[in-house]
Amino acid sequence: MNIIEVQNLKRVYRATNGVIRRTTKEIVAVDDLSFDIKEGELFGLLGPNGAGKTTSVKVLATLLIPDAGQVRVKGLDIVKDANEVRKEIGFIFGGERGLYWRLSGNDNLRYFASLYHVAPEISKKRIPYLLELVGLKGRGDERVQGYSRGMKQRLHVARTLLHDPDILFLDEPTIGLDPVGAREFRDVIRNLQSEKKTILLTTHYMFEADSLSDRVAVIDKGLIVALDTPSALKKHVRDLSVVEIETFGIAPNVVEEIRKLPFVDSLSTREQDHRQILHVQTERGAEAVPDLMASLEGMRVGRVTVREPTLEDAYVRLVGGKA
């Protein structure tokens, strides 16, 4: 069943400049988006800066009125039934703002619980449970002022779960977190998945989208350029297997010879303390390794790896960059 239905969504921002000669500039943030999200699905929304991800999330979260198109959440219209929709959804925009820094974590949650009409006797039990769920157990009495960025972002997750919504919109929830923090945060998201939440996630981290999403939509300039499962998207770039070869003091003319080999799609080198790493993109994958090694006859060679194309390779190709 489709719990979220987006049909031909369009949203334009109008920026007026000047006092005497008013000029209005129109920015089409979301041009024409259509997609559905199934119940319990984690749907990744990817796209370059300015693609329209946050704008889409704001429309879904009832914070922005669409210019055209229709969005339904659990069959409810996000414009006409906004207040009903709000009871069914939770949302966070990445970053540490949006909390009352003067209040403790507990009090922030109590305040938002009152805004979501969560009865005090329920929130009394739910707040400690949520703090534990997001890994803030025992820190609820401290003022948010003293929280680290990661702690604030976790508190946002707890905040948005107070009324136990079935649907969550997470806009770059791991932005600005250190690698360990981001990994722990992904575990929190996995917890939510196991609680059968339907989640729309935007992120710039491809491995994050790859490891969490059931399906991914890649958007650019407000339009969908691809929509599929991560593994299906990677098939688009099957021809882009990458062979990485570690060499020591390779001569430039040898690099040029390899570049001219018929099965080499493209080649780039990266210098890394006295080593040169060759990235060879080839359709032949592992089969290309013996021929490549033959060209390197007599040279010192370190580690050789062949890797599958990542979602990032697919993404870069889709949004038009050069790998």
């Binding site: 949203r11 921002y13 109008r14 946050t54 704008t55 704001k58 979260a61 009832t62 914070l63 922005l64 009125i65 207040n83 009903e84 709000r86 009871k87 949302f91 925009f93 970053g95 703002r97 949006g98 909390l99 009352y100 820094w101 003067r102 209040l103 009090d107 922030n108 109590r110 305040y111 938002f112 009152s114 805004l115 979501y116 009409h117 009865a119 005090p120 905040r159």
Partner: protein
């Protein structure tokens, strides 16, 4: 019954927490300073200045006027911070994303400031009795209490409107200081209104505080409750009008923000 009870508890919780969350002076030392020392300073300044300029016979006039005027500290500055503070906290998007009743949210923000403001007036009047010998022996104290409450509520009504302006404009402190200053002059706290030019008198009549101060002066001088009822009714009416204007502006702000995309989230 249970839902009413729950709603009341939610209202109370939201009210108290938003007060602590958004009101910058809620640190013990600054709070005490703003509640006890600042009213004292204002009263001493205007009472000495006023009675010196006018020949010293009417200390009570200045003491009472400034004591009631103190409520504007909570009513204007406090309420504005409680409404406008969300803009700085970046919480607007999260607030407007909740299904909370906007009217409760809006008026709830002023609730604690009413208590706070009334308390401030009581302290200021106490200073008046202790330092300037204002005599309450002829005063109908419960009528004076009602006057303080009504005046505080109506001043908070203006504060709610100012708070909404602060959501829309950036230069809030300037506007607030101007309003506070205008109230000092036009509310009759320091200048007898009937000595003002006509157009200024007209302006006084549309401000909160004016009738509250007049009512307090009458009551402390021994007047009866019946004498001040018309003043208090109008004072309350003015406050309600400002409060509702503020509420409509608040609703308008939310709608505009959803149209234009001007709820800053980052």
């Amino acid at each position: 019954m249970k839902t009413i009870n729950n709603n009341l508890r939610l209202f109370w919780q939201g009210t108290v927490l938003s007060y602590v969350a958004l009101f910058a002076w809620f640190r013990p030392v600054t709070y005490i300073a703003s509640k006890i020392l600042m009213p004292l300073a204002q009263m001493i300044f205007f009472t000495f200045l006023g009675s010196y300029a006018s020949g010293g016979s009417n200390v009570d006039f200045y003491v009472i006027g400034n004591a009631i005027q103190i409520t504007a500290v909570s009513g204007i500055f406090g309420v504005t911070m409680s409404i406008g503070g969300d803009r700085w906290a970046g919480t607007l998007a999260y607030l407007f994303g909740t299904p909370a009743n906007r009217m409760m949210m809006f008026f709830g923000r002023a609730f604690m400031h009413v208590i706070d403001g009334a308390f401030g007036v009581v302290i200021a009047l106490t200073w008046g009795a202790l330092l300037f010998g204002v005599d309450f022996s002829q005063t109908n104290l419960s009528a004076l209490g009602l006057t303080i409450l009504v005046t505080t509520i109506s001043t908070c009504g203006l504060g709610l409107l100012m708070g909404c302006l602060s959501l829309i404009t950036a230069n809030v402190m300037f506007v607030n200081n101007t309003v506070y200053f205008l109230l000092l002059i036009f509310s009759g706290a320091n200048i007898a209104i009937d000595t003002l030019p006509n157009w200024m008198q007209a302006f006084s009549q549309i401000l909160p505080l004016t009738r509250g101060i007049a009512s307090a002066r009458i009551l402390i001088a021994g007047g009866s409750f019946a004498e001040v009822v018309p003043l208090l009714t109008s004072e309350a009416g003015i406050g309600i009008i400002y409060g509702w204007l503020g509420y409509f502006l608040f609703k308008w702000f939310e709608v505009q923000a959803k149209r234009k995309g001007s709820l800053e989230t980052v």
